[in-house]
């Protein structure tokens, strides 16, 4: 479904990504783990062109694009098949819950309002927010805002959803409601690429794990063998430190 090859990105001489490659098949839930500053978020942002990579290629549904010189037209073509969930939700603050979801459908995809609203309500029902259609983002908790953001992502019927640390800005007791929604999506077969610090999610929900450090992919494996049988020494110590911090 998507395959990224040899992505490089430098910020003012700092090598944020070095020759990063990854592959996501249809129906995969891929978790990207790693310490802060390892380039996880940058990678995700480069894949959706919120950040322009210095080099690298993206194969999306069999069409190969140069990630540095891709045209605006191709970017918007790819974005039509993807959705992005941000760490800080980034809901449109001057729009209600339902308008947040319909905005992209009506404005970008020229869908009739009524059809868009039906889709929006269905998406909001899925994340348990259909009872707050006319609330503004400022009237919602962080967890509720993030669920609306997920509904906004679902509404465009994407082939893949990118999640950038979707629970990192949330209070501990609100993390569960967002993770539950993501788990449901995974069970329904949604293709997801998730940058996260949630070990339980990576272990129990995701099918594959990619471990990054210092802008490089250290290890990439299916979840089970990643957690039970890590190959790299660095991966082992990472998993160990996370697990012991938990006890």
């Amino acid at each position: 479904m998507i395959e990224v090859k040899n992505v490089n990105k430098t910020f003012n001489g700092f090598e944020a990504l070095q020759d990063v490659s990854l592959k996501v098949e249809k129906g995969d839930v891929v978790a990207i783990l790693g310490p802060s500053g390892s380039g996880k978020t940058t990678l995700l942002r480069c894949i959706n062109f919120l950040e322009r990579a210095d080099s690298g290629t993206l194969d999306f549904d069999g069409e190969v694009y140069d990630m540095h010189s891709i045209s605006k037209k191709d970017i918007s073509r790819i974005r039509r098949k993807t959705a992005f969930v941000f760490q800080n939700y980034n809901l449109f603050l001057n729009r209600t819950v339902i308008q947040n979801v319909t905005e992209g459908l009506i404005i970008a995809r020229k869908m009739p309002k009524e059809q868009a609203e039906q889709i929006a309500i269905r998406a909001l029902e899925k994340v348990g927010m259909a009872d707050r259609l006319n609330s503004y983002p400022s009237q919602l908790s962080g967890g509720q805002q993030q669920r609306v953001a997920i509904a906004r992502a679902l509404a465009v019927d994407p082939e893949i959803i990118y999640f950038d640390e979707p629970t990192s800005a949330l209070d501990p007791e609100l993390i569960g409601e967002v993770l539950n929604v993501m788990r449901d999506l995974a069970n329904e077969g949604m293709t997801m690429l998730v940058v996260t610090h949630e070990m339980n999610f990576a272990r129990n929900v995701s099918s594959k794990v990619i471990f990054m450090e210092n802008g490089k992919v250290i290890e990439s494996a299916d979840s089970k063998s990643f957690f039970e049988n890590p190959k790299e020494e660095r991966t082992r110590s990472f998993i160990q430190s996370i697990m012991s911090a938990r006890d």
Binding site: L50, R79, R80, F86, L93, E103, G104, I107, A108, P137
Partner: protein
């Protein structure tokens, strides 16, 4: 206060008020309208970082904020005719006030644009919207809300600045007062009176600003 003065005040009140309604208010509204257009364009050019034009905008703001409004009025009304550009007093005043206040309002608008959380732009891109669609529907409405108090400030200040149009023969309230005062020599009473009428206008505007802010707060509340 003598009966004569009271009589003069009563006679002049309607005349000055009519000058206010016929000239000061249209002059203020027209100038504010154009200033608003200028300020939005200038602010967006800077926000969107449009090369070349951005420098031009900074230059415009620098020149306009760095020179007195009175000089700008004199240049347009008394200066331009010598190079063949003759503008009637009222349009000349509208031109000067719009360009002048536009420079200040552009800075308010720019600050308000920059105060809108940037992530919404990215979120807009990710649902397939274009830059201008996001600007028009998401960023600008929020910026307007943030800028509303300082735009109101500009409007109120502009109402009073229009008094300077009297120096280029626009027959607004001050000029009307001067004409009356030329006949009756009651500076203290008459200028108190015209000051009071300005206060009246601005009181109404302050009240409208309060209503406007309440309306804007209905959606969204505190952020």
């Amino acid at each position: 206060m003598s009966e004569r003065v009271i009589g003069i005040l009563a006679d002049s009140f309607m005349k000055i008020l009519m000058a206010g309604i016929r000239v000061t208010i249209p002059l203020s509204i027209l100038s504010f309208f154009f200033a608003l257009i200028i300020s939005v364009i200038v602010a967006i050019i800077q926000y969107a970082d449009i090369k070349g034009l951005k420098q031009l905008c900074r230059f415009y703001i620098w020149i306009i904020r760095g020179t007195p409004l009175l000089v700008q009025l004199y240049l347009v009304f008394y200066g331009l005719p010598s190079v063949g550009i003759v503008l009637p007093a009222f349009p000349a005043a509208v031109l000067c006030f719009s360009i002048n206040e536009g420079a200040y309002m552009a800075e308010s608008m720019r600050a308000a644009l920059e105060a809108v959380p940037k992530g919404q732009l990215e979120a807009g891109y990710c649902v397939g919207m274009s830059y201008w669609q996001i600007m028009r529907r998401i960023i600008l409405p929020q910026a307007f809300r943030t800028a509303f108090p300082s735009l109101s400030n500009s409007f109120i200040s502009m109402v009073k600045s229009t008094s300077m149009a009297s120096t280029i023969t626009v027959s607004e309230m001050i000029r009307q007062t001067q004409i009356i005062n030329g006949r009756v020599y009651q500076s203290l009473a008459l200028y108190l009176e015209v000051g009071f009428i300005y206060l009246l206008f601005c009181t109404v505007l302050t009240w409208l600003q309060g209503i406007g802010e309440k309306k804007l707060n209905e959606y969204g509340g505190a952020r």
